[in-house]
């Protein structure tokens, strides 16, 4: 299996505040990593660094063997924790946008997923509910043939039906030559799809490993482990 993401002592400071304190991890192709931690633990900062929206204060990372920079943006498909689509866009405009900007965008897949998500082509972003926007963003993110998918809180603020649909999409999109990182604190809803997990708190990795191994060794579900780790913090 190819190494999709490798971070080495990755650090990020906001003035005197240390948001990431040296995160090192390796993610191989075909794996889905659950990045878990409470609010302010550094999950979003970590994903933004990999997506190229922020620059590391220290350490380094590679995506598909390439050093962070312009080239890595071609391999990373990022779903942020907020809507980033322009309000004037319709679903079809958004698909056109991705089609124009990303060489690896699969238009047919996007149109199929739009149907699966029960979204209409002419729905405008400004008139969509939060759940619909989340589904549209997910459609766009997963319609790329990227090497690394970064999903920041993809289940936050959406109803259970939409949540189920999003999880189904993640499973459907999984391929052996790419990797997915999902940051969430709604562990219970998605833990069954994780191959690997990483618990992060105060900008540091507290526990990482193969999800199934951790369940067996500790005799607990990932959700229970999350509660155990973070209940004292």
């Amino acid at each position: 299996m190819a190494v999709i993401l490798e971070t080495d002592n990755l650090k990020k400071n906001y003035f005197s505040k240390q948001a990431l304190r040296g995160v090192s991890l390796k993610l191989e192709s075909g794996r889905i990593l659950g990045l878990m931690g409470p609010n302010g633990s550094g999950k979003t900062t970590f994903l933004k660094l990999i997506a190229g929206l922020q620059k590391p204060t220290g350490g380094k990372f590679t995506v598909f063997g390439q050093r962070a920079g312009f080239e890595t943006k071609k391999h990373v498909s990022f779903l942020p924790d907020r809507n980033t689509l322009y309000p004037w866009m319709s679903s079809l405009d958004a698909i056109d946008f991705y089609d124009d900007f990303f060489d690896d965008f699969d238009r047919e897949k996007a149109l199929d997923m739009l149907d699966f998500m029960k979204l209409k082509k002419d729905d405008r972003v400004k008139t969509m509910s939060k759940g619909m926007i989340e589904k549209l963003n997910l459609t766009l993110t997963f319609s790329r043939k990227a090497k690394l998918f970064l999903l920041d809180e993809p289940l936050g603020g959406v109803d259970p039906v939409a949540r189920e649909r999003i999880v189904s999409t993640i499973i459907k999109t999984w391929t052996e030559d790419s990797a997915i990182i999902i940051s969430t604190h709604l562990v219970n809803d998605v833990e069954h799809i994780f191959n690997d997990v990483a618990f992060i708190g105060d900008g540091e990795l507290i526990l990482t490993g193969d999800a199934e191994t951790l369940r067996t060794e500790r005799g607990k579900s990932i959700d229970q482990l999350y509660i155990q780790i973070f209940s004292d913090k």
Binding site: L53, L85, D93, F101, F102
Partner: protein, 284 residues
Amino acid sequence: MLEIIKYQLKGRLQAILSLLLIIGVINAVALVAGIYDFAIGTRSLTPLFGFLIFAAMAGTWIVAIVMFFRCSSGHVNELLFKDTSYLMLTVPRRGWQILGGRLVAGLAEFLMYVLPMLVIMSVYAATFTVYGTNGKTGFFAAMAFVYRDVFAKNFLVLLKLFGLGIFMFVSTGAFIMFAGVAARSFVRGKKLATTIGIVLFLLISDWATKLGTWISEMLGWYVNVPISLATNQFGGMKGFASGEMSGAIGQQFAIPLAPFLIFLVISAILFACASWLMERKVEL
């Protein structure tokens, strides 16, 4: 870069149409009031018509000036401080492509305002001529005169002025973009970053202008732009009263060259710096 231009213009389309509609409506109100006054036999500017024309023209020019700065900046503020900027900063495009695309789109947007404004101003000029000649000159004859004597006969000169205008637009844009991107690179707060950006823009513009003017004076670098205009058509009541169509006089403008050259060099440097900062330093 073409994709950036395309989506920037698509995103601005509604705002462009709204602004054009507003400009159209306020000027139409003024002109309709003028036509009504003329139709009922008034042969001079009534206070109401005068006020409406003043308000409409002032509004139009204020929009033009504000949009000159906003468009030349490529609406960079929206790129730097809105959530939608995530989208633009995660696409595999270089900083110069993003900023350059927005600058070109801004120019196209500005022309969409300016060209109708020129038509509106020529309509006013023709209207004043009709009033000034007490109706002896027809509206369409006056319009033809405006386009022939002001635009057609001065075509080359106007082309030069148009080029200078484009140059000013682009250099102003480069200045604003650099100021905005530089401020955003080091300050996360929108208000503070915007304030620093404005101060930076004013300082850079001021220094460049002073230095350029000084060099022009020292070396005598001026470009002469001759322009001829039939001044008695629009030159006050004396001209109006004569009711004549001829009487063009020539005017010479001496434009200092060095500020433009300095602006050109500084703009290119600042644009390169802004593009580099956009790629390497701007964080969301």
